[in-house]
Symmetry: C2
Subunit: 120 residues, 2 copies
């Protein structure tokens, strides 16, 4: 799914400089992000979980289950991000089934990765 | 989301006796299941991952990312299950956004559980 195209005209964007913290583990969270430019590191207890590249999402967990952030997100480069709150997220799920499938695939990928880390 | 109601009239059902293996880790998989009656154990390398109860799903990962089964599913009690293949799954994602949200929540829950197992 081409999220760069879907969010190209978004006005809900935010910029971070390399090294900036975007959110921290255990924080409450009510938005998720789409990387438009740059790269974001996801860390859990100082272990690198994932590198999020342009066209990819992060922070979706806190929107889906309304719990605290499971990871820390740090801008690895200067970043230009689109953000979406719960209303926009639900609108996309209702109107763009391919977006739902993409979010499921991201979650599945993270789960497979965890499985490998846990059980080898 | 009330999956029991959604699948009450499904003709695509299958029964397993307590102790039966439904699928095994590393197998290819092209269906997911909704538990209508009974209970299913999900195991990974002989560790108990989850107990799936009536109204809940399992086997969704292999449908989402078309990879092999990440866990073994065993009927813990006599079970009556509805199954859905990729076509039916995609139909539901397109027509029933609440189903998409439910699948995301299940994945999020499994991911949070994994996080806890991995990082405490």
């Amino acid at each position: 799914m081409d999220l760069l195209a879907l969010f190209a005209d978004s006005h809900d964007t935010v910029d971070y400089k390399a090294g900036d913290s975007i959110f921290n583990e255990q924080q409450a969270g009510d938005v998720m992000y789409v990387v438009l430019q740059g790269m974001v590191e996801l860390r859990m207890q100082d272990k690198l979980l994932d590198l999020v590249k342009p066209g990819q999402i992060f922070g979706e967990l806190a929107l889906i289950d309304a719990m605290q952030r499971s990871a820390t997100a740090v801008a690895k480069q200067n970043c230009h991000l689109a953000w979406l709150d719960e209303d926009k997220f639900l609108e996309l799920v209702h109107e763009t089934p391919r977006f739902s499938l993409y979010v499921m695939k991201v979650l599945a990928q993270r789960l497979r990765k965890m499985n490998t880390l846990l059980y080898g």
